[in-house]
Amino acid sequence: MTTKSRTIFITGTRKGIGRFLAEHYVAQGHRVVGVSREAPDWTLAGYRHFRADVADEAMMRGVFHEVRRDYGGLDVLINNAGIASMNHVLLTPMKTLESIFSTNVFGTFLACREGARLMIAAKRPGRIVNFATVATPLRLEGEAVYAASKAAVESLTRVLARELAEYGITVNAVGPTPVETDLIRSVSKEKIAALLARQAVPRLGEMRDIANVIDFFIREESDFVTGQVVYLGGV
């Protein structure tokens, strides 16, 4: 791991995995900028928060403009913000698709576009890490819309990896298993147990498992690793 201090932008930092990652990278001496719709109930020296909806183009352009002005560019973008909705396809309203695709796909796309522009303008070898999910390769029943939105994120990741390679920017994705967060709180214990049984390593993921993969993706030495999706748990 490099010891050089970098500017790292993380979406969805108010709680859960996003907050963990913000603390993880601040602890390593990096400047961390985070964004979420609501203000967090915590503060941290070395961390700066912006309130914005990741799917709102005008708001996100404003946030990235401030990052460029105040930090001179961007080194790492981690697109953690995401929402899910457990439901059966026959009972799923269009509203669910609109909100999940807005945050997971449109939000990831917007941050990738604006973040890459900052990395290119500052001539920095950028790193973009997106969030996939094991729900996509597992074809997880009850998560059709979530899995489909993350399949779109995987495609974005692979194509952007090629489009941004000439600028020295890598684009990869980490695909977590269920982790104890709000995202899975409404899922029954039986469903989680059945899901874990389909993993090679049948346990809940921990936040450090996700950070470990991101640490690898964003290393300076990982400049030959791009367009990859790494699923946790042996899925």
Binding site: H88, L90, L91, P93, T96, S186
Partner: protein
């Protein structure tokens, strides 16, 4: 001529749908408003709920000559689903039919 849409007539339609569901599935779900459908002690599992809701949807459409799509973001939520009891399902249908 379809009956007027009232809480009572919707409850009767739901009751007919539950009877049809019981007949085809070999179940004995009571049509009482306080019958829990979802969660612990619920009368159906998640796939049973889907089938029951579809049956109710068709019955209400046939009885009232309306188009109805019983979908909801919280359909599977044990705490907030509009389908968690027969009574909440009936009330939810009423609110759907009341919308323009």
């Amino acid at each position: 001529m379809p009956p007027a849409i009232t809480a009572e007539s919707i409850a009767e339609s739901v009751s007919r749908a539950i009877a049809a569901h019981n007949a085809s599935e070999g179940t004995a779900i009571p049509a009482a408003a306080d019958t829990a459908l979802l969660g612990e002690g619920g009368a159906v599992d998640s796939l049973g709920l889907v089938r029951l809701v579809m049956t109710v949807e068709r019955q209400v459409e046939d009885d009232f000559g309306v188009s109805l799509s019983l979908t909801d973001e919280k359909a599977m939520s044990q705490r907030n689903s509009p389908f968690r009891t027969v009574g909440t399902l009936t009330a939810y249908i009423g609110s759907c039919l009341a919308q323009p």
